[in-house]
Amino acid sequence: MADFWQQVVAGLASGSIYASLALALVLIHRATGVINFAQGEMATFSTYIAWALTTNHGWSYWPAFAVTLLASFAGGVAIHQGIIRPNEKGSVLRVVIVTIGLLLALNGLVTWIWSGEVRAMQSPFPTRTMDIAGVAISIQDIGTIGVVLATVAVLWALFQYTKVGLAMRAAAVNPAEARLVGVRVTWMLSLGWGLAAVLGAISGMLAAPSLFLDPNLMAALLIYAFAAAVLGGIDSPIGAVVGGLTLGVGLNLIGAYVDFVGADLRLPAALAVILVVLLVKPSGIFGKSEVRRV
């Protein structure tokens, strides 16, 4: 039984990483109706910034963490203003192809700047384990879960209690009317991209210590995040968090106890989740089903 709970906690830790990346996808999808295929590569890029600051420039972890978040935010806003916004008019396909171009370009750029070698990323949390009621729980896992939950709480407060948050929600729900009442819709969308980049950066920095840093760090994580977002309902922030945690625990338990799946088939299992949810209940657990006029 101790083993079971250990798997659950480890699952919650990886699940919280999926959740933050899924939340980034949901923020952008809600605001602009786009699935950002470059979300993972943006996160990888951010993580490399943190790695370079700590390893090459001798910064300690938390200042590097904060600076990386600021840089990611600026990068997200810049990407929206410079690359996404001019291509937003017309078709969604155009933006999808742009995000795929961005995926390729950022992935190549990471290899170009920092080389493709696998790097060790330092963790802010000790690797020791803690004993709680006979269950050995790694402090790193608890730290990961804590950071993600804190981020989600801050974001929720931002959307719920601040004027900017209200404006962002308005811009996402009804851009035309929001503009009429004086919301600067374009900048609100840019802000959304900035926040999504920050969430991605957090997930990357939390994932890198245990998965090691290489240019394809987030490729698999992006699929897990897609699965989490689809499972929770791609328009629902709560759904992204719940979906991420559920997926993390579920995949971990299946990986540990179902021999056929093991460690190798976790990614295809996530694919199965995506397909089944899209086919059976496309709106996910928390999403509203889309009504379309023909």
Partner: protein, 327 residues
């Protein structure tokens, strides 16, 4: 007027066939091999164009269909001693059936969600291949080089009285397949079927009310498109004389979409441009930087730049997605 419109593509095609036939006499074996890869990508692009260009269904997963074709060829050659060229039609059938079956759930997915699902298929493909080790050789892959089943690999082969080295043989094999594939696609798309597929792309509602069966045509497009990708994968395995899970990475799927977009979704000339782009991009980008990351940066930037300056290159798709995702 009508007649000249029908004759122009035929003339262009014959001209191309002549150029293709005489080209190896003027270039080195190494170049011939590179051009063989162009033909392989062209085959895959013809297939993707049927699905994405004509029917308006985005696939980010055609590399996975290529993997199925490639592994079909490799397994038949290594385990069952089948001669390489006979594995190509088998690969087409196997991949076509898989594509057709995948087309059934894909019926319920539109636009973005189909892109997402096919993307996930392509990303998880290598993991599936590694898992079924006994069948696929796992991470080590399957080696075809030196097998007697691989035509011309050990000693030159004589075809129609000409002695061909492996590279020249590969060149002619791949281009023959690609051009035959193009003719088949052209015949299929110029009549009733092509019209129905374009109708599905432009407006599903309108197509349906005119009596076009959406499930039938969409799954047909998926099956045919996958069969082309399977043939391309089969040729790819023969050309590289080796397959492993990383032979068909997600980057390949993305590059195929890039190729179709570069080609402007449509004409033969456009598709050849796309195939040349995919094959020679890594070589050209060496001019920019020797870094292994450079090709990805260049293709990413080209893709984004194309969307800035030539969004009409994907006009048909654009129109379809606009109707689909209008909110």
């Amino acid at each position: 007027m009508r007649r000249s419109r029908a004759l122009a593509p035929i003339a262009a095609f014959l001209g191309l066939a002549v150029v293709v036939a005489v080209l190896p006499s003027f270039v080195s074996g190494f170049r011939a091999q590179q051009f063989a890869y162009v033909a392989i990508y062209l085959t895959a692009l013809i297939g993707l164009n049927i699905l994405t260009g004509y029917t308006g269904q985005i696939s980010l997963g055609h590399g996975a269909f290529m993997a199925i074709g490639g592994y079909t060829t490799a397994i038949l050659m290594v385990d069952h001693g089948v001669k390489d060229i006979w594995t190509i039609p088998v690969a087409a059938v196997v991949t076509g059936v898989v594509g057709f079956l995948f087309g059934i759930p894909a019926l319920r997915l539109s636009g973005l969600y189909l892109a997402l699902a096919t993307f996930a298929v392509a990303v998880s493909m290598p993991a599936v291949i590694k898992r079924f080790e006994g069948f696929t050789g796992g991470g080590g892959g399957l080696n075809l080089f030196g097998l007697p089943e691989l035509t011309a690999s050990l000693e030159p082969v004589t075809v129609l009285g000409r002695e061909l080295t492996f590279n020249d043989w590969l060149y002619y094999l791949c281009w023959t397949v690609a051009l035959v594939g193009y003719v088949i696609a052209w015949l299929m798309l110029r009549g009733r079927t092509g019209r129905a597929l374009r109708a599905v792309r432009d407006s599903e509602t309108a197509a349906q009310s005119s009596g076009v069966s959406l499930p039938a045509y969409k799954t047909l497009a998926f099956g045919v498109s996958a069969a082309y990708a399977g043939v391309a994968g089969s040729l790819f395995a023969i050309a590289t004389t080796f397959v492993n899970p990383d032979t068909f990475p997600i980057a390949l799927s993305i590059l195929l979409l890039v190729g179709v977009v570069v080609g402007g979704l449509g004409s033969l000339v456009g598709l050849i441009a796309g195939a040349v782009f995919i094959q020679f991009l890594p070589i050209w980008s060496q001019q920019v930087s020797k870094s292994p990351g450079a090709p990805a940066v260049v293709s990413g930037v080209v893709l984004i730049a194309l969307m800035f300056v030539l969004p009409m290159g994907v006009a048909g798709l654009a129109a379809r997605l606009r109707t689909l995702t209008k909110r």
